[in-house]
């Protein structure tokens, strides 16, 4: 049995707006096992980033954001501990890397300051020890001449180098879970591949769980063991990468997959585009959230919300049609 590192149960995050509290994500449930990479995919605004930042409790609580549900990290319920205690968990047990390393590194602090900070906070290392440890981390993420880099400022490094530094910062305290929020979107293609290789490599070496948030299904296919597809704040389908890519059950997933350009496919076939636009948060459809854009939607789809239902092979899907089909097969 695989060891579960993170269990998220029915997590909802609401934000305060002019029109009252609006749920940005609604009942998100998934788990991450030790040593695996879970991909979370979806269009922008689907709640991928909200999910990841909610796990870290990064939003200002009470006045800005409200969480319900359960987040269990290594048996510890993160939503029931006081907010102040999250400081001890962030950066030591869960870490996060962001899209744009240039804006995510503090422009006025040296690399060494930013890299030593988590070590000094969480492991209470003395300056000299932290320095040595930081150097090791820079070597680990493949930065040449680390002594020189330590004395530099973020703007003096190249884009790929900055992303490596950010990964080094995130992994400095050897967290059990790493959340990578679109870690390669801001980089050019060759560097993208290098950074993804580095993440996969470190994931194996350190045996940590990784949540990879991306809109790029190709990246998911290459790196992840499992994938969850999000649409409008809900997980609509989840399963092992080979299963889900071979046999996508949800029409939305099908649409996403057929919109990837394929080299081997018929070139004359036009790329599939999912029609319609994403509805706004405050005008959610009553039934299935995908119904307004779904080519197969019928009456029941528009009136009742389907639940995330497990299929025989362990794949889970939130779709009336898929559930019915499975039932008729059995």
């Amino acid at each position: 049995m695989k060891e579960t590192i993170l269990q998220v149960n029915g997590l909802s995050t609401s934000f305060k707006t002019d029109r009252g509290w609006l749920k940005a994500i609604d009942g998100v449930t998934f788990q991450v096992y030790r040593g695996e990479i879970l991909g979370i995919v979806g269009e922008s605004g689907c709640g991928k980033s909200v999910t990841s930042q909610s796990i870290m409790r990064l939003y200002e609580e009470k006045r800005v954001a409200r969480y319900t549900g359960e987040i269990i990290l290594n048996g510890k319920s993160l939503l029931s501990i006081p907010y102040r205690q999250m400081q001890h968990i962030r950066g030591s047990e869960i870490s996060m890397i962001f899209q744009d390393a240039l804006s995510s590194l503090n422009p006025v602090l040296k690399i060494s300051d930013q890299l030593m900070e988590p070590l000094r906070i969480h492991q209470r290392l003395k300056r000299a020890e932290a320095w040595q440890q930081a150097l090791k981390m820079l070597q680990l993420v493949g930065i040449p001449a680390p002594e020189k880099r330590m004395e530099q400022y973020p703007h003096e490094l190249s884009g790929g180098m900055r992303q490596r530094v950010m990964i080094a910062i995130a992994l400095a305290c050897r967290p059990k879970l790493l959340i990578a929020d679109e870690p390669t979107t801001a980089l050019d293609v060759t560097i993208q591949a290098q950074i993804m290789d580095l993440i996969v490599d470190l994931n194996r070496q350190m045996e940590m769980g990784v949540i990879l948030i991306t809109h790029d299904l190709a990246v998911v296919a290459q790196t992840c063991q499992r994938v969850a597809v999000m649409y409008l704040g809900q997980i609509v389908e989840e399963g092992g990468v080979p299963d889900l890519f071979d046999r996508p059950l949800h029409p939305y997933t099908q649409g996403l997959l057929s919109s990837i350009p394929r080299l081997e496919g018929d070139r004359r076939e036009r790329l599939h585009v999912i029609s319609g636009t994403v509805p706004l948060l405050h005008q959610m459809p009553q039934g299935c959230r995908f119904a307004p854009r779904c080519p197969y939607a019928t009456g029941p789809c528009r009136s009742a919300m389907p639940e995330l239902t497990a299929m025989e092979n362990g794949q889970r899907v939130r779709c009336w049609r898929a559930v019915e089909k499975e039932a008729s097969h059995a």
Binding site: M56, Q87, D100, S104, L105, N106, V108, E117, Y153, M166
Partner: protein, 316 residues
Amino acid sequence: MKKYILKRIFTLLPTVFVVSVVVFLLVHLTPGDPAAMMLGDDATMEDIAALHTKLGLDDPLYIQYFRWIGRCLQGDFGTSTAVIGQKVSDMVFSHFRPTLTLAVYSQLITILLAIPTGILAARKRGRIADFIASIFSLLGISLPSFMMGLGLVLLAAVHFRWLPAAGYKDLFADGLLPFLRYMTLPALSLGFIHAAYMMRMTKASMLEVLGSDYIKMARSKGVKERSIVGKHAFRNALLTIITVVGQGFISALAGAAVVEKLFTIPGIGTLMVDSIEKRDYQVIQAITLLIAMLNVVINLVIDLIYGLCDPRIRLD
């Protein structure tokens, strides 16, 4: 570093030149004949003409300018036309200490008042602290310093009789406590407008910084809230705040005229206003030039501090 400073100084030269020309022309175009004024009503035409030649007033304008600016550069601002034989430089420097101590004191109050409230307003956006801060800054932009001063005098001196309504005690000659007793009201009235502005700028830059990605990153590293505001955010916001502090110092020096007159403090502001009545243009010229140059120098210093604080600005 040296190259950077030289480059900055070089770009300032045109400004310095224009300032000096403006100040020179201003006083030169004054109606009335300085020679005739210096000699009084009994002077004959010959006397005046002789003095003209002696002072070089018949030379072309640009020669007079270069003669004047050459003397200024040596610290010689001429002699007073009102107090016979008195050197202008002596007059200005003997009045400089009250103005300078007052400006520094008012800036200290401003900084202590504005930066913490600005940070608080940014952190507690939309709450009472923010609301009070907004009212405070609204008042600040609408009240001229002397009106603020009159209000403070009415309240603290006339009504409650806490502090004296006017007068001057020197920080070095009379000691700290008398200085504080006499100079707190002037310093408050001088600093209030700028405190409002500084608070708004602090709030705005803190808000911008607190919303940035690197603050989110710092938080995700487990950095304590106090250290996020104090180390990660404030250092970045400081870049804006330094500029505002510099401007504040200049506006305190410039605004001194009004506040010094109100509280009868013998600084350069008072000297300048008194010189208007006495038509002592040399003094007015010297003070204007001096403060304008101080302004240029302070802006240069701010630029340099900026360069030191922000690693993104290349110093070489």
